[in-house]
């Protein structure tokens, strides 16, 4: 366990002991990373903040599941990922209902994806905007794998830990995302 995760393990243990200040310190240490991670998945700041709050509520309710001495970060990221996917599913269902109710086409995918690098976010670059639209249309798991490995530059093992899966699955998802992205951009 690294020094950082040792600190978080200590804070988590104190949080479980009912120490409010430990929660505040844990929040300051972990929430920015969780928010950035969720932002990559949902691509919308307001929704990401909602997911963060929901994640922290779930963490609070499930804190008795914590194992003392363990690194709480991968667990927190797993809760955040599942909460984000649940929200995305809800959003998708709501959009489908809206389209069924009112035969208008669904809204255009957003051209801005918060998890993408600044260079690609330039709205005045048509190629960048097209790439972002394509990236945004990928399934969340593939998009996350691509962003973690190609944009953040994490190793497959690190990305797997962050995504709560195996390095093999990350490699496969990133490859599929890359192939899909290439097709979408060429179209």
């Amino acid at each position: 366990m690294s020094a950082g995760s040792g600190l978080e393990a200590d804070l988590m243990a104190r949080y479980c002991d009912g120490d409010r200040r430990a929660f505040d310190a844990l929040y300051a240490a972990v929430a920015p990373r969780l928010l950035g991670f969720v932002l990559q998945l949902v691509g919308d700041r307001a929704l990401a903040e909602d997911v963060l709050q929901e994640t922290l509520l779930k963490l609070h309710e499930a804190r008795d599941f914590y194992v003392r001495g363990a690194d709480p970060l991968p667990w927190m990221f797993t809760i955040a990922r599942h909460t984000a996917f649940d929200e995305l599913r809800k959003k998708k269902r709501a959009r489908v209902r809206l389209v069924e109710d009112d035969s208008r086409p669904p809204p255009e995918p957003r051209a801005e994806l918060s998890g993408a690098p600044e260079l690609m976010r330039a709205n005045d670059d048509p190629a960048g905007a097209e790439a972002l639209r394509a990236l945004d249309s990928l399934p969340p798991a593939q998009r996350q794998a691509l962003l973690l490995t190609k944009v953040e530059g994490l190793s497959q093992a690190e990305a797997a830990q962050r995504a709560g899966t195996t390095p093999g699955a990350i490699k496969l998802r990133a490859h599929r995302a890359y192939v899909a992205l290439r097709k979408l951009v060429r179209r």
């Binding site: 366990m1 922290l56 599942h82 830990q161």
Partner: protein, 220 residues
């Protein structure tokens, strides 16, 4: 695997404060007893084996087969039960969630090893004329026995069901099925290969599918 997680690629400019719902819960926060996986493992294993022993007193004992072979196969089933229970309840070192890589493949490999031991321990007895009826009874008894550790694991892992999904379910089912197979090995006198493969092997395999599907459904 390193557990150090570098900051995300898109650090948010400002952090929102905790929501009022969370603040209310924090204000009313009390210390909680954290999970002790080794203790849970001991409790689930002892209660399950105790229930199995109680169950076996109700059944007719086996008298017509080679006791050594039965004991060896029973030991294999018991080891499979405890080993898979370990995977289901005790997380890898430094982790919170008991998620193992290739959980499905691990469980199927253990099932295959257990089935091999059961078949080798059996003998070529004449085929039971009521084969299908006795097979159904074995499937039922094995699956019902499997419910005991599965229910206990469900209680122990209730916070992880949402996160683990079918992978945790398959491992729980594997452990539960191994206990079912152990029960049948100690109880059922029909050791014909076809019966052992279909009924006893099926009783060990069925909970894997059932609990993997159940945990996946509960996650949704």
């Amino acid at each position: 695997m390193s557990s150090e997680l570098p900051p995300s690629g898109a650090p948010p400019s400002s952090l929102p404060p905790p929501s009022p719902a969370l603040v209310a819960r924090l204000d009313a926060m009390r210390p909680v007893r954290t999970r002790r996986p080794a203790l849970q493992l001991a409790i689930v294993a002892l209660l399950s084996l105790g229930a199995l022993a109680a169950l076996l007193t109700q059944f007719r004992p086996r008298v017509d087969v080679d006791a050594t072979a039965v004991v060896i196969a029973a030991i294999v089933c018991a080891l499979a039960f405890v080993g898979e229970l370990w995977w289901a309840l005790v997380p890898p070192r430094g982790q919170v969630l008991p998620l193992r890589p290739a959980a499905g493949a691990r469980v199927l490999l253990v099932w295959l090893a257990m089935l091999t031991a059961l078949v080798v321990a059996g003998h070529d007895a004449a085929r039971d004329p009521a084969f299908m009826r006795s097979a159904r009874a074995c499937l039922l008894v094995g699956t019902m026995t499997a419910l005991i550790p599965a229910a206990l694991c469900l209680v122990a892992l209730r916070r992880a069901v949402e996160l683990g999904g079918w992978r945790i379910g398959a491992v729980v089912g594997g452990a539960a099925g191994a206990l079912g197979a152990l029960c049948l090995e100690l109880h059922c006198a029909n050791t014909h290969v076809a019966h052992v493969v279909v009924a006893h092997g099926g009783a060990a395999l069925l909970p894997i599918g059932i609990f993997a599907a159940m945990f996946a459904w509960m996650r949704r």
